[in-house]
Every structure is written in C-alpha cells, then in structure tokens.
Amino acid sequence: VSATAARIGSRSGSTRTERLRLALATALIAAAAAHLPPLTDHLHEAPWMGWLFVAFIGAALGSAAGTLLTSTTGPAKASIGLTLAALATYCATRLLPLPQLADDVGDWLDPWGLTSVALELTALVIAVQLRRQAGRQEKGARAL
C-alpha cells in the first residue's frame, strides 16, 4: 500500500512540476515580450539600457526554453537570478539618476515598467516554487 501511495504521490508531484515549468516558461516569455515595446526608444536614447533589455530578453527566452526542454533545476535557478537582477535594475532606474535615464527617477507608474515588474515577480515566485518542488521530489526519491 505504501509503495502504491508513494508512486501516486510521485506522479502527482511530477505533474505539479510540469505545470510549474509551463507556468514559469509562460511568465518568462511574457516578461521578455513586455521589454520589446520600449526597446527601440531605449536603444536610441540610452543605448546601454537598450542592450541590457536585449540581454534580458535573450536570457529570459533562453531560460524559458531551458525550463521547457530540460528537467534540471538550472533554468529555475537562472530565472531567480535573472528576475532579481531585473527588479533591482528597475528600482535603481527609479531611485538614481543613471546616465541618459535621469528622467526615469520617480516614474514608478510607467505602464511598461509596471507590466514588466509584475511579470518578473510572477516568474520569480514560480521559479522559487519550482526549486522547492524539485527539492521535495529529491528528498522523496532518497526516502524510497
């Protein structure tokens, strides 16, 4: 009985992990997409930030693809680092007069900025859950 229950529990955990992977990939794709509309303006007005946007889009899409194609926890860890870095950069641009971006100081309600922050937070929460889920599954496998 205990072996069957463990198998069922393992299957349900695996399903939950797969759902979390899909959710994380979706959130990362949406966060990358939210960086596309202001990309041209940034590349013209503050090229260094434009290239950071390009790097974020590339990293977010890469992490999303990694999340979908592998079962390792690497992409989830990368997503946590990436979203934390993006959130920190957003706060820095709103608090400090960075080169060519002094106008952004205090502009917390910029629609694309808010959208990005919401999606990055969502991706961060899902990535943390995915990491925990993977940890629980590892423990369960060891117990068996």
């Binding site: 009985v1 069957t4 990939a25 794709i29 041209t40 390009v54 590339g58 693809a65 979908l68």
Partner: protein, 231 residues
C-alpha cells in the same frame, strides 16, 4: 489493495496529461522562436545606420537649394544692416543673417555627413519637379507675384541687390522689406515642398522650422512696411 478509482485508468490519464504538456510546450517553444526573431529584428532596425540620401534625392536638393536661397537672404540682410538707420530693420536684418547662416551650416553639415558634394550639376529645384501641383497650388494662394525670374522662388534679381546698395537709405529700407517678404514667401514654398518630399526626419523638421519662422518674420516686415515712419 488499490486506492485508485476503478473508472479511471491512471496510465491513460498520465498519457493524456503528457500529450497535453508536450502540446503546450511545443506551442511555447514556437512563441519563444517568434519573440527571438522579433527582438533581433527590432534591435537590428534600431541600431542599423540610416542610409544616406541619394545625390538626386529631395533631401539633398533641398539642402543645396535652400542653402543658395539663404545665401541671398543673408547678402541682402548684411547690405541693409550696415546702411539702415532703423533699429527695427537692423534687428530683423541681424536676425535673418544669424538664423539663416546657422541653417546654411546645418544643411552643409548634412551634405558632408551624407558624403555628397555641396554643389550639383542637376538643375536648380529639380528635386521639386515631382511637386509641381503643390507648387502651383501654393503660388495661386500668394497675395503678390514673386519678384524674381530666377529658378528659385522669391529670389531677388541682381539689379535689385545693386539698388539696395545705391538707393537712399529710406528707399533702400523699403525695398529691403519688399524683397525680403517676397524672398521669405519663396522660402516657405520650398520649405513646404521639402517637408513633404524629404525622407529624413531632420530635413522635414528644419523645413518646418524655416516655414514657421519665415511666416512670423513676414508679419513683422509687413507691419514695418505699413508703418508711416520707421525708427
């Protein structure tokens, strides 16, 4: 002992779940591909240098012909600035001279940056040849005919320039205002065509600024021309 519901086949359920996961995953991978291409296209478009206008383009023609047009305005303004006894006319002449000299520098800077010569063997105003209807419509709305037989609208004749230097000062002041009003009207026609035909944003913006500033100066000069005395 089984704890699974008898009507549900767990293997079939898992297979169904798996195929659904694979379908969603493939869809998301396709979206990732599309977004990556879109990001690359946007970045490439934003950082690629804009192509320089061609030798025969409206942009180059406008820059060359407006430079020549401005040169005569500066010449007339400099003649009257040194002769006039009217502070108001001296102010306008100085303004025309400084503004249009600066604009000539901008336009020659464009030609230099585009790798094009300042002069051209193409006939004057050839760049406006596609805009004859526009020119005709604008000319029809002019309150007075342009006192110039030159190819560029509003250009003063060499004899008028000589008269500016030789007429008594009060007559020269009056002639300057008449010539400069006509010259500005011609400049506004060229600027309107430039704004419409040029492809570069900076050319369109300068053309727009030229038209609006020359309209304002025409009003000023008409007021001076209508005043019984100028001092």
């Amino acid at each position: 002992v089984t704890i699974e519901a008898p009507h549900q086949d767990p293997v079939r359920l898992e297979l169904r779940e798996q195929s659904r996961f694979v379908a969603v995953r493939n869809g998301l991978l396709a979206v990732i591909g599309v977004l990556a291409l879109l990001a690359a296209a946007i970045t490439g478009h934003a950082v690629a240098p804009a192509a320089a206008p061609a030798e025969t383009s409206a942009d180059a023609g406008f820059a060359r012909d407006m430079t020549a047009h401005h040169a005569q305005a500066v010449q007339m303004a400099e003649i009257i600035r040194t002769r006039t006894g009217s502070a108001a006319i001296r102010t306008i002449a100085t303004d025309v001279s400084l503004t249009q000299t600066a604009q000539m520098g901008i336009m020659q800077g464009w030609l230099s940056a585009w790798g094009l010569p300042y002069g051209s063997t193409a006939p004057r105003m050839a760049w406006m040849s596609d805009d004859q209807d526009h020119m005709a419509a604008m000319t029809a709305h002019q309150p007075a005919p342009l006192p110039s037989s030159a190819a560029m609208p509003g250009m003063a004749k060499p004899a008028d320039i000589r008269r500016l230097q030789t007429l008594p000062v009060t007559d020269a002041d009056r002639l300057f205002l008449q010539l400069m009003i006509a010259h500005h009207r011609g400049g506004i026609q060229m600027a309107a065509a430039g704004e419409e035909l040029a492809s570069r944003t900076e050319v369109q913006q300068l053309a727009s600024r030229i038209a609006s500033s020359q309209r304002a100066e025409i009003t000023q000069m008409q007021t001076l021309l209508a005043a019984p005395t100028r001092s």
